[in-house]
Amino acid sequence: MAADLGGRPPSAPPRTGPEVLPFGIAAVPGEPVLRWDGAATTVAAVERELARIWSSPPARDAIGGEGREERTVAARTSVLNLVVVARRPEIGERVAAEISTLTGRHPSRTLVLVPTDPDGPPWFRAQVRAYCMAARDGAPETCAELVYAVAGGETGRHLAAVVTPLLVHDLPVALWWPGDPPFGTRPADELVALADRLIVDGSAWPGDGLDRLRAVARLARSVEVTDFAVLRQARWREAIAAAFDRADLRPYLGSLRQITVTHASHGGPDADWSTNVVRPVYHVAWLASRLGLRPIRALHRDTRPEDRGRRRASRPAPPGGPADPGRDLRATLGAGRGRTVEVVIRPAISTVAAGTTLRVELLAERRGRELRVEATAEADVVRVRARERGIEVLDRPYLASRRTETDLLAEAIEVGAADHVALDALKTAAALAAPEAQP
């Protein structure tokens, strides 16, 4: 990879952004500053540029008297490598901007790879940056390197060969694949093989998202998987769990009858197949895996007689009439001793992004008493209500803001160990999403 890959780039990495503030010039504590900005046209040149950052005297100089080195002025963090594959330049630029705000937190070296122009000649252009931040005045700066590389033609199909020489050795590798990762293709599999952790966002997958869900669950056997769709639901999980901190409500968890998750749909003739249902499936999968419920019948479209009418109505709504959201998905969970829990994933017409969870409802019956728990969410709050025999026994706002992608990325790369709760949920979700056996 040392040779110039040649070819004239049809597009170059973005050159806009903040001004470089050289090492040694004081910056505002707590805010990341751009300390280095270089360019390279080969992978070897990127390596040289990265080495130059840390051999520059201001970065290497030390403070402390008696001629003895006490503490360096600036140091690269030594936590992890973050590799991001952005299939489109605008995603790459957005991602690079988000990562620069994480400086001083986690990634030691980030490689943002943008494959482009697959049919053109091979070429490679990279921008090498170092962002630094001091936690407080006078504290040593910690820095993160960001390599933004655009790879054209054949080079863009061999990204693993670009990545491997640029990884900081002995540090774990997290691979973030925003959008729709082409799992099962050679370039994707090569990159996944390099990674210790795969970060995806299930809510961005095309169609209903369930085939990608199964693919990711298969990958989870060899690599840790973090799905933003799971992380985003943390506030739902905390709020629902908090309802069952009440000792009088907790026994109902052992006698659940039905889990219903309502999600947003934009309706239309193809709503059944174009609405991503990964998020509602994760809600069900988390509850099932924590409560020891196993899927005994996978998700399937509702075909009960009363729904046939709805299916016929899955046509563009008549002017002024209500739009049809699509059909319910149903599944059955087994709770042992022949007891079952019905699962309903129900679309409802809404203006929010299709697939967004609107409501999670639990129905339980115990000793002739019925408990209904309902959770709904807004931007800053999840509200949980419970009614026992029709009487309200709990109505509680749970303050927790919806999190940004930057927050989720920070959390995803902060997790050091396997998250077995998320893994259990992913496995259960994949089992729920299993293609139904033909009758």
Partner: protein, 556 residues
């Protein structure tokens, strides 16, 4: 929790006072206990919540009333309430929660809340929003009370019973004593007379959190512990040393016992000596009257420094359970060798005291200690203490532990430095610098992190060696937004985890280490005070303390 039989008391405690006819406090207690016994129901300790697995807390604190004595004081406003609000804001407190402030000032609920809101806005970690504050404020009430008045405790008991009904606090109560230490015994006795200490089987827990200082010498500490034990069992008592709640202090345990490579060399065979420094650049900051009574020994050495020492030197506990951990810590304190005959003037070869005179700190001229407000112009209170201790056990015999703490030192820094022995055979003779022994420094604050110094060859044709640092900074690996020590400790107390709290025997043993020093000093004048300049690293004698062993203080 098991109910304690009436009249039985913890070990070492005095017998309970007999019930006096007509004493309103005692009859109130009897009446309350009778009522509580009547409402006793079989314990149905529910199984854990399976949905909590993998969430931030696998177990939430039980519903509880948090009774804050000294609620109008500085500690409550600066630390305790901002920490409670942060816990509330991040959903780590149960919804069924009530905060009852107790103070001597005449205030209404609203006035109390307004004052707290201003304090949380000033001292809280995150900006205060009305959406978060309003529901929290609804949990807060205030009761004016004279700590010696039995009727006040009876009224408090009634109020807490009512909160059980209105806020669902489930008869769990945490009494937090953020008052002057002189009020501790009175409040605890008052709680006992009203039966507020009494745990009923299945009917809720009672805990008491006590702020330092726990006494001012061995005798007063034993006396205070005895007063506490007359009312509360040791398992109900949580003595706060906020140093133990600091993230990096807790990390010390992980560093020692979560890594395999350090423990084998963590002993006298490899360690030459250990230095523990708690340096402050500030002076007494308007607390002259308090500091005149305390001094560096009572303020820092007896608690923070000895706690750090015991964490560094302790044996691995069998389990990470509160008593297993504290058993090991107290064994270290018991193994500290006596300092020998202490003479008033020099005290002992192992102890140095100091007091700062005027000088320069951080580029500004500062007055000497004796010129500070509320300080006696002839004061003999020490603002610096350094001590050389040895631990007579199998692991540490013969290894000196140098501890120092002081005010108006050049910078604020807390760290533990472990210096290892020099190589047994100098292979690289004739090089310009002899290889320096290895050093491991655990920085507690600021720039929390760990530094390992080792020798490396200077690039070139010769064989020159110089020390280099391998430096891990906490902020470079983890988000820097660590919880405040008070948040950690209050949450632990609500959860019933006493690991990071000091046990009675620990407190008493720590006082037994420092009381002989204080007694020796009290017998004679400090001849040379002030003996260090503000902005220097303490008196020259502190350097001599190490120089005798061929060591010197690490330059921080």
């Amino acid at each position: 929790m098991q109910a304690r039989a009436e009249g039985s008391a913890g070990p070492g405690s005095a017998p309970r006072p007999t019930r006096a006819e007509g004493d309103p406090g005692l009859s109130a207690r009897a009446a309350r206990l009778a009522r509580a016994a009547g409402s006793q129901r079989p314990s149905s300790r529910p199984a854990g919540n399976p949905l909590r697995e993998g969430l931030r807390l696998e177990r939430m604190p039980d519903p509880a009333a948090f009774v804050l004595f000294g609620a109008t004081g500085d500690l409550a406003h600066r630390k305790v309430v901002p920490a409670l609000f942060q816990l509330w804001r991040t959903n780590l407190l149960p919804h069924e929660f009530a905060l009852v402030g107790i103070g001597r000032r005449p205030l209404g609920d609203d006035g109390f809340r307004t004052g707290l809101r201003a304090s949380v806005e000033e001292h809280g970690r995150a900006p205060l929003t009305a959406a978060a504050w309003e529901p929290f404020a609804a949990c807060i009430s205030y009761q004016r009370m004279d700590f010696g008045d039995p009727a006040g405790y009876a009224a408090l008991a009634d109020r807490l019973d009512e909160l059980d009904r209105t806020r669902g606090t489930a008869a769990n109560r945490l009494f937090y004593l953020a008052t002057q230490p002189s009020a501790f015994a009175e409040i605890i006795a008052g709680l006992g007379r009203a039966g507020l200490d009494h745990e009923v089987h299945g009917g809720g827990w009672r805990r008491v959190v006590i702020e330092k200082p726990f006494g001012r010498d061995t005798i007063s500490a034993i006396r205070l512990n005895r007063e506490v034990a007359k009312v509360f069992r040791e398992s109900q008592v949580y003595r706060i040393d906020h140093y133990l709640g600091k993230e990096t202090v807790r990390n010390l345990l992980v560093f020692r016992f979560g890594n395999g490579i350090f423990e084998p060399i963590w002993n006298r065979r490899y360690v030459d000596h250990v230095q523990i420094t708690v340096a402050e650049s500030i002076g007494v900051e308007g607390r002259g009257a308090f500091y005149e009574e305390a001094g560096a020994t009572r303020d820092i050495l007896q608690n923070h420094l000895l706690q750090l020492l015991s964490l560094v030197a302790m044996e691995p506990p069998a389990t990470f359970e509160a008593n297993a951990l504290r058993d090991e810590k107290v064994k270290v304190l018991r193994s500290i060798a006596p300092l020998g005959p202490l003479e008033p003037a020099a005290v002992a070869p192992g102890v140095v005291r100091g007091q700062y005179g005027p000088g320069w700190v951080a580029g500004a001229a500062v007055p000497g200690y004796r010129a500070e407000p509320e300080v006696d112009p002839q004061s003999e209170t020490e603002t610096f203490v350094a001590v050389r201790l040895t631990i007579d056990d199998w692991r540490w015999a013969g290894v000196p532990f140098y501890l120092r703490a002081g005010k108006r030192l050049p910078k604020r820094a807390t760290e533990i430095a472990v210096r290892f022995r020099a190589v047994p055979h100098a292979l690289f003779k004739g090089t310009s610098v002899d290889p320096e022994p290895n050093l491991l420094a655990l920085r507690i604050q600021p720039d929390e992190g760990i530094l390992l110094r080792f020798a490396a060859k200077i690039p070139g044709l010769g064989l020159d060696v110089r020390p280099v640092n391998m430096d891990f900074t906490y902020g470079s690996a983890f988000s820097v937004d660590s919880p405040d020590a008070y948040e950690t400790l209050i949450l632990d107390a609500l959860l019933g985890d006493a690991s990071l709290f000091t046990r009675a025997d620990e407190v008493e043993t720590a006082w037994q280490v420092v009381t002989p020093i204080l007694e020796a000093w009290a017998r004679g004048r400090a001849p040379d005070f002030p003996n260090y300049e503000a902005g220097s690293w303490g008196p020259a004698a502190a350097d001599a303390l190490l120089a005798r062993d061929g060591a010197r203080w690490r330059r921080i």
